[in-house]
């Protein structure tokens, strides 16, 4: 089970500090980000949306789908 609490989240270069308890997929929905358009690194490693987030985790959400 994920631990509830404040996790360090970065969306591209923007830092967010928020309380979150759940999986990466649930975090993306909370942030209204489409999972088809981003990849997520947890503590520097690529991670699937099914992965639980823990209090000490550093989450980096990277937008990878662009127009052009």
């Amino acid at each position: 089970m994920a631990e509830s609490g404040s996790v360090e989240i970065r969306v591209d270069n923007e830092k967010l500090d928020m309380e979150f308890d759940g999986t990466i997929g649930e975090l993306l929905r909370e942030l209204k980000l489409m999972r088809e358009e981003v990849v997520v690194k947890v503590n520097g490693k690529l991670a699937p949306e099914t992965k639980n987030i823990f209090k000490s985790d550093k989450i980096h959400i990277i937008k990878v789908v662009f127009g052009g």
Partner: protein
């Protein structure tokens, strides 16, 4: 449970296949699909001279990398053609990784510019109060420029970085615009003409997100940057619609693409093979009188 079937930690969950894959098995799956697409569609043969249309974005850079790998088993000549449209603050940023990747792989890169082609950059053309949206202008000019450049470089095939998302979006856009004849020539031209260099799309069965994951796992350096004109594009709306549908109904993009592949022959039959003439202004092939390139830059 986020483990790959081998017991390693998964780095990706493929919703359409309902499985986790570790880095090694993801790369293996990606490479296998790439090679299968090339083989099943008879895209390449030994001794071909192939140019990658290399923008420096993730799709064309990964394509260059994968084709360079494929050469180890199927010998063919490989070069890269980069078109600099002249989009300030955008293209110069993606041209850096394009150049770096060519140098790293030892592949010759040829750069052509809109300015050389028609005397104006895309930024200058857009300022000229045209009726066409920037993306429509850019699309016509880039296709024209790539074909001309490919002919100049004497290549047999022009490899494009279009991925599964691009193909599914294009199909839906053509339906929404009531242009079914364009669907018929989405993959291959209706009329075979030696002045059109054959285009191949080895990533057409690979979802866009997986191209990005592959680039990251392979350590291919990329600039994540969006074209400043992208906000004008109809494609952006279709992309959003398709991605929302894919999230709710995983596998939708594959179903759209497979529907196209099933219909392709019937569409080609239905819309005829037509005839090509020659543009009276530039001499390039055209289906009716002055070609779109010439009418756009006049």
């Amino acid at each position: 449970m986020t483990k790959c079937h081998c017991g390693e930690e998964g780095v990706v969950f493929l919703h359409y296949a309902e499985k986790h894959l570790c880095a090694e098995h993801f790369i293996r799956m990606f490479d296998r699909r790439f090679r299968k697409t090339v083989r099943m569609n008879k895209m390449l043969k030994k001794g071909d001279r192939v140019a990658v249309g290399l923008s420096g974005g993730k799709d064309s850079t990964v394509l260059l990398h994968s084709l360079a790998e494929l050469r180890k088993d199927l010998p063919f000549d490989l070069i890269a053609i980069t078109i600099d449209e002249g989009i300030a603050g955008y293209r110069e940023r993606t041209m850096v990784p394009a150049k770096n990747e060519c140098e790293r792989l030892g592949i010759e890169q040829k750069i052509f510019t809109f300015k050389d082609l028609c005397g104006k950059s895309l930024d200058e053309l857009v300022k000229n109060d045209s009726d066409d949206l920037p993306c429509s202008q850019c699309g016509v000019l880039r296709r024209y420029a790539l074909n001309k450049a490919a002919r100049e470089c004497k290549v047999d095939k022009l490899a494009m970085g279009h991925n599964l998302d691009d193909m599914a979006q294009t199909l839906l856009m053509n339906i929404m615009r009531a242009e079914p004849s364009r669907i018929a020539r989405m993959k291959d031209p209706m009329v075979k003409d030696s002045r059109f260099v054959q285009r191949i799309r080895p990533l057409m069965m690979t979802p866009e997100k997986e191209v990005a994951i592959y680039a990251m796992l392979k350590g291919i350096s990329l600039e994540h940057v969006e074209c400043p004109y992208a906000r004008f594009a109809f494609r952006g709306h279709v992309r959003k619609l398709l991605n929302e549908t894919e999230e709710r109904y995983p596998g939708t993009k594959f179903k759209v693409m497979n529907s196209f592949l099933d219909m392709e022959d019937a569409l080609k039959e239905g819309y005829g093979r037509g005839k090509l003439s020659q543009c009276p202004t530039c001499g390039e092939p055209s289906s009716k009188g002055i070609c779109r390139f010439c009418s756009m830059i006049k």
